[in-house]
């Protein structure tokens, strides 16, 4: 899933991609993500949490917007890598 694919039409708690359907909730600086496909719940912190949250709230979440939120290209790549490592995106 590339950042362009992050839609905003499903509501601000939903992030949908080609392989993932996630619902997220934020609690005290962490983000909890429910992966409907596997039924697993993940607890994310740091950049991956910020990416999920920003993507779900920015409506469309174009890469430049995410980059603004996350700081720079390296941060975005790092966050995506974190989400991949967690098995939340491909």
């Amino acid at each position: 899933m590339e950042p362009e694919a992050l839609p905003g039409g499903e509501g601000d708690r939903v992030l949908e991609g080609e392989a993932a359907f996630l619902e997220i909730r934020a609690l005290d600086g962490g983000v909890l993500a429910f992966h409907a496909g596997s039924g697993e719940t993940h607890w994310l912190e740091g950049l991956p949490a910020r990416l999920l949250w920003a993507g779900a709230h920015l409506g469309g979440a174009a890469p430049e917007r995410l980059r603004e939120r996350l700081g720079d290209e390296a941060a975005l790549a790092e966050a995506m890598a974190g989400l991949r490592a967690a098995g939340l995106i491909r």
Binding site: L27, D28, G30, S38, L44, P48, A49, W53
Partner: protein, 348 residues
């Protein structure tokens, strides 16, 4: 009418004929058996509970009976059947009372789908509910029994029930007897000599077990849920000093979800309801070895007026906006650093 208003022969007769309908808070169970030990168990521990409607619909229909064949006579055993199906291996005949308790627990944990069910004890004080979530052997029931003997209202020692509907989050329980095992039996007797305990049942799979009769006030108010205020993960550690430490809400969420019986079956509804609950409570880890000190800690907790909920939780339009350096601030760590911790997988 309450169970205690039936004579022993009336109780045995109802159990043997069509079955006895037992109302335990939001759950009604029909019990059918001719085993005298079950009637004695109910008479000793359930005297304050109301009878359900004789011809009403029960949530669960249970039967305890000896297996067919030689084991009726040689080293007799007992079977537990839920809706006519045997769900456990047979146990020794003298364990019929505890088997009824384990069977009713099984029914709630595996059959109830209209609520989120946590493997947790729950008690109420001043309108606020305390959840003690922990796996077996953590000292959860011992602590629960102690608090119930010291003025906390018992909701449950085993299965905390949370409504799935949107809106106010509340915790309910069946107020059934508290299950104690091995050293915890004596510990509770020492702390509360007035507590009514069943005769210890030895050589069970869990060792020696006894059940504590719930306080009458808890039974009388068993239909009354309470708003959650504290979520605590207790652990009995021999010789350890009493210690209550804060746990972060995300970590508490993961711990609570791991202790849910039907999280996987309910999927996203369970995810959001668990988050709804955790947003509203103060979360702690608790280690203890001395029961008296443990009770004091919770009595003190109950007198505090702490701002327990996430600000805005439960208000219309609240979306749990993240705060803190890990999400909004600039001090976030690398992507690999604590990117995803301990996923809760469907398993229950």
């Amino acid at each position: 009418m309450r169970i205690g208003q039936l004579s022993r022969s009336e109780l045995a007769g109802r159990l043997a004929r069509g079955g006895l309908s037992l109302a335990t808070g939001p759950v009604t169970t029909r019990i059918r058996t001719s085993i005298p030990g079950v009637a004695a168990h109910l008479a000793a521990l359930y005297a304050d509970f109301p009878l359900g409607e004789a011809d009403g619909i029960a949530d669960f229909s249970c039967q305890l009976r000896p297996p067919r064949g030689v084991r009726r006579y040689y080293r007799p055993q007992v079977l537990f059947l839920a809706d006519g199906r045997s769900v456990f291996k047979p146990l020794a005949y003298h364990q019929a009372g505890p088997m009824l308790e384990w069977g009713m627990n099984w029914c709630i944990a595996s059959q109830l789908r209209d609520r989120l069910i946590f493997h947790a004890a729950a008690l109420e004080r001043g309108g606020r509910a305390l959840l003690l979530a922990a796996p077996p052997g953590s000292g959860k029931s011992t602590l629960c029994a102690a608090l119930a003997c010291r003025g906390w209202r018992l909701l449950t020692d085993e299965a905390a029930l949370v409504e799935l509907g949107a809106g106010r989050v509340s915790v309910a329980g069946t107020a059934r007897p508290v299950s104690l095992k091995n050293a915890s039996i004596e510990a509770v007797q020492r702390l509360a000599p007035e507590a009514a305990l069943s005769a210890p049942c030895r050589d069970t799979l869990k060792g020696t077990v006894a059940h504590m009769r719930p306080p009458p006030e808890s039974v009388r108010r068993a239909q009354e849920p309470a708003a959650p205020a504290w979520l605590v993960f207790p652990r009995f550690v021999p010789g350890a000093p009493t210690r209550l430490t804060e746990r972060s809400r995300p970590e508490a969420f993961m711990g609570l979800a791991a202790n849910a019986f039907n999280y996987a079956a309910l999927g996203r509804r369970a995810f959001h309801r668990t988050a709804d609950l955790v947003e509203r409570v103060a979360c702690y880890d608790f280690r203890y070895s001395r029961l008296e000190e443990a009770v004091q800690v919770f009595d003190e907790l109950a007198t505090r007026r702490e701002p327990s909920a996430v600000p805005g939780a439960g208000e219309p339009g609240y979306h749990g906006r993240p705060h803190g350096p890990g999400v909004d601030g600039a001090a976030a760590g690398g992507a690999g650093e604590r990117a995803a911790r301990h996923p809760v997988a469907p398993g229950r």
